[in-house]
Symmetry: C4
Subunit: 123 residues, 4 copies
Amino acid sequence: MAIGRRIWAIAEGYIPSESSFEARELISHETACILNAGDREAHVAITIFFADRDPVGPYRVTVAPQRTLHLRFNDLTQPEIIPRDTDYSSVFESDQPIVVQHTRMDSRRAEVSLLSTVAFAEG
Amino acid sequence: MAIGRRIWAIAEGYIPSESSFEARELISHETACILNAGDREAHVAITIFFADRDPVGPYRVTVAPQRTLHLRFNDLTQPEIIPRDTDYSSVFESDQPIVVQHTRMDSRRAEVSLLSTVAFAEG
Amino acid sequence: MAIGRRIWAIAEGYIPSESSFEARELISHETACILNAGDREAHVAITIFFADRDPVGPYRVTVAPQRTLHLRFNDLTQPEIIPRDTDYSSVFESDQPIVVQHTRMDSRRAEVSLLSTVAFAEG
Amino acid sequence: MAIGRRIWAIAEGYIPSESSFEARELISHETACILNAGDREAHVAITIFFADRDPVGPYRVTVAPQRTLHLRFNDLTQPEIIPRDTDYSSVFESDQPIVVQHTRMDSRRAEVSLLSTVAFAEG
């Protein structure tokens, strides 16, 4: 069953450059969790907005039918990496309905800290 | 008074396998808080989506009229347990209006960390 | 300018009984932040839902025009206090449009932890 | 592509006066992340609501086309600074569609704590 919307936005965005740990799951990171509950492959184009320069993108990801993709912004490399310690926002445009949730894990200090929110769904 | 929607989705999902404490309330866990404010029993079917395999479910729970159920994903066992340290998403289909909120408590480190968001309501 | 809705729900609810500090601002607590941006007094009736017994309420609060009320669930006493270490949900019915956001501060451990989400707006 | 709404509200608001660090990025703060994904400059008027006195504003900010502004409430000075350790709410009125997300970093204790939520979109 398809669920969700085709356009989503996350106004918050900030990847700390520091981490107190080396394990992948404890490195400071931001994630866009993308659920494609439908029966068709979702092609998602992501645009990254900055405070003081033109947007970068599209970053393209595919989410298979009936799958979830917990996409780390840290891992994006094409067309360029997301700079650390830098304010950004993101917009997601999908050809199928999806659901998007935003999470940050901050491990700059010895204890991890978390934030999360459902993204803004347009339309 | 019935309040809410019948279809909800939580795109985030991750239960850390580690905990710094043994008390039930301080073990790393994820919860779907389900409010049934109406006068009729709500029958809820939950489907769990993964990154790299077919969805699992339905997990079936019943929420009595005018009651709340803070359902721990950690406690789900039928048809199978939710694997730890694994990305997932969830979809809730109810025959009555409900309200769903998602919370994680992460106690891998000695200090607990929390995240929460209202889930995405379809329709 | 009036902004918001008249019916809101928060499915999450849990006040830890323990705190690492005695200062009011660092005691473990949950808050419903209620904004009344309009020009008329908002009369709000709050009902608390539990896992295994009938709802309690209404708790009645008034939010003056163009004021915010950060209402601590910890402080509610009439018709009865909210029990600690207990799962609950809440529903807000107002005669004027309001905006509701839910926040928890958990200071059971020596470092505070926070969660927050906009509540669910009916209608 | 324009995305979002013109009126937003954040019912939560509280800037701790204490911080455990002196670096700007680790000082206790609250942020309104404002994304203007459209092609026209967005002029945003912000009003701050308090518990026990008249609202203050408008605070005026401009978000250039296709830019994000992570606005710290700590930095607002005209018409007056936001008092610390004080409950407040905020309303955003823009002449262009924007997306608003609210984040707090609390570093009163030696470990930072985070909360975030998409704001409430009117209309």
